[in-house]
Symmetry: C2
Subunit: 343 residues, 2 copies
DNA sequence: GATTAGCACTCGACGACAATGAGTGCTAAC
DNA sequence: GTTAGCACTCATTGTCGTCGAGTGCTAATC
């Protein structure tokens, strides 16, 4: 569809624009050492590329800027990944080297590192709890009326909630209840725990425990609600958005930052069935607030099972090559670190 | 020090400026129904107030703006609190009505509500763990090599970390260890848990458990590090900063938002020994980044014991009366909600 | 036929300049 | 002590001309 020369010129324009954030003129392309054509020739080609929809002109007497379609072509056909640079790699690995004891820490750390190294905003989606199963249940009474209910999943995820103890239930009854739950529910997927509670545990409880209705309702409150799209969301470098010249307008940046605070929206936006690295450019994003941003996401997986997503949000004029290379490395390293939890 | 008329005029200027964000001229003050003087008289008084340091002039032919000293005088002597309006109160209470099962939820919710109702940024510091004591310790093995260690404090706070199990330690040994820990450490302040571990638990372990050195080192990793200044920090409405006309400059707002992301700094900034409501205006704040912001904080307490702080960050031109009234109510309500955990 | 030099043209950015008007300080009258 | 009147200041706004980067087109060149 495009001639070699057109591809070369498009590539040069995108590269230039990514670096400078200024519309690219024919002269500056012509001056590049690897281009042997005069400005006039470049102009003709640029005119053609604009007609084909790969370039845009902010106004008549300005240079050209890549269009969404132009970026798309660049990402799909022209980009030279070249892998993450070794210095970057070691820098990144050293950040990641500290021993991390909590999974949340790993995700937050990954988000921070990515934001730091790219100067864009990064988003990390934690593993969804939907596939986990229950490993252990525990009640820790704090006083006569309240207790903490703790649920540990097969993946080492710990949830805790505060509950009111039903009056008149003895400590031994509570212990029995916990034992029954662990015996009956261990290994059951979190999704089905609540239904199992009523279908099977109820009968069992009624046999051994007084006031079993109240105990059952207490347990209902004690167990976490599993939402299909519930991801924990970690942000890194949200304010990096402010350093991009295209977002020097406060109102524009506000709509973006507001979007970043809506974790459910982010969660939906990033979660994807498709594995590997995915690039969404400008209006390819569904949310109007980021129609002049691009989002690059990578899923991370352990044992072939996709656990979550990390992504970078930046202007459409983002350094795709660098970000893609980095995300590739980071997602692998994250998976490696997380594999501890998912053996 | 100030005449009644000067106080009245200062009050009018501060009120006006808080509403309009524009320098206040003598004419607009004179027009107010409760002021019976001509612009010329007001001008003379304004000139005096400026000489005394309560007002400032952005440039010769502009109106006056309150200085830090002016705001300070306003807050200390002129402000009319009038309590939170009933409609606001019910609105706020209805937000807060949902049953909340996690303490983190309460703090985050409080921060969100405050930000929403004020259009400023709010910061909530969670209860410090320094005063808590250990309630319950638990090890949940996930597989042969790893386990989740869970610590519940007397206040229902749950911490969990991932640890590697030392090879060669049997399940029964782990169980014994957990039992010993609970027997010996329950009720001990979290601060002293680690030292107790070595001074007392070590001997005990060596009597009942094989490989007790490895087990001890594992426990050391399993117990959370208690930092004196460790607060959990919850932010609400960070982007509200962007709606304030004084922060339409992107660079200025970036330094503020960056500060908001440094949780340790925030924690230090807000934590205060002084109980009740505290107002820090402009340069009274130590951090240069917020030298044209004001911070209003309120501590919340249960049974006379201060648990944490909630605060509002806004421009020096903030609606002090409204914010102080609101913080007063919110801090009380939060304390009431949290009292469940601290009986 | 492809490439390029030459040139007129477009249009945003920038600085100079005047007009506007909100607000002041001072003086003299009330 | 208060106020009307007035000259003065200065940020803001709008207009205008200049500048220059960049284009599109035409004709000459390879």
């Amino acid at each position: 569809m495009l001639t070699d020369r057109q591809r070369m010129i498009l590539n040069a324009i995108v590269d230039d624009y990514i670096r400078s954030a200024e519309p690219v003129g024919s002269r500056s392309i012509s001056k590049r050492s690897d281009v042997g054509f005069s400005p006039a020739t470049i102009r003709n080609e640029m005119s053609d590329l604009e007609e084909l929809g790969f370039l845009e002109q902010p106004h008549t007497s300005a240079g050209r800027v890549p269009s969404i379609k132009g970026y798309r072509y660049y990402v799909d056909h022209l980009i030279q990944l070249g892998g993450a640079s070794p210095t970057e790699m070691t820098k990144f690995r050293s950040y990641f080297a500290e021993r991390m004891t909590e999974r949340e820490q790993i995700l937050q750390q990954a988000a921070n590192i990515l934001a730091n190294m790219t100067n864009y905003t990064s988003i990390a989606l934690g593993p969804e709890s939907i596939n986990h199963s229950l490993k252990h249940f525990q009640l820790v009474p704090l006083n006569a009326e309240t207790a903490v209910a703790i649920v540990v999943t097969s993946t080492g995820h710990v949830e805790n909630r505060m509950i009111s103890l039903p009056p008149g239930v003895s400590v031994t009854d509570l212990e029995k209840t916990v034992n029954i739950l662990n015996a009956k529910l261990a290994g059951i997927p979190m999704m089905r725990v609540t239904s199992k509670l009523y279908s099977e545990i109820g009968d069992e409880l009624s046999r051994y425990v007084d006031h079993y209705e109240q105990v059952l309702s207490m347990l209902d409150h004690a167990l976490p609600v599993v939402d299909e799209h519930e991801h924990r969301v970690f942000l890194g470098g949200a304010t990096n958005m402010l350093t991009q010249p295209e977002f020097k307008d406060v109102d524009k940046v506000k709509t973006i930052l507001d979007l970043l605070e809506e974790t459910p929206t982010l969660s939906k936006m990033l979660s994807s069935t498709q594995s590997g690295i995915q690039v969404r450019i400008g209006t390819e994003n569904k949310h109007a607030a980021i129609n002049d941003c691009s989002v690059i996401t990578a899923t991370y997986a352990v044992n072939g099972q996709s656990l979550g997503t990390i992504g970078i949000l930046g202007p459409t004029r983002m350094d795709y090559a660098k970000v893609i290379g980095l995300l590739d490395v980071v997602s692998r390293d994250m998976a490696a670190l997380l594999s501890r939890w998912y053996v």
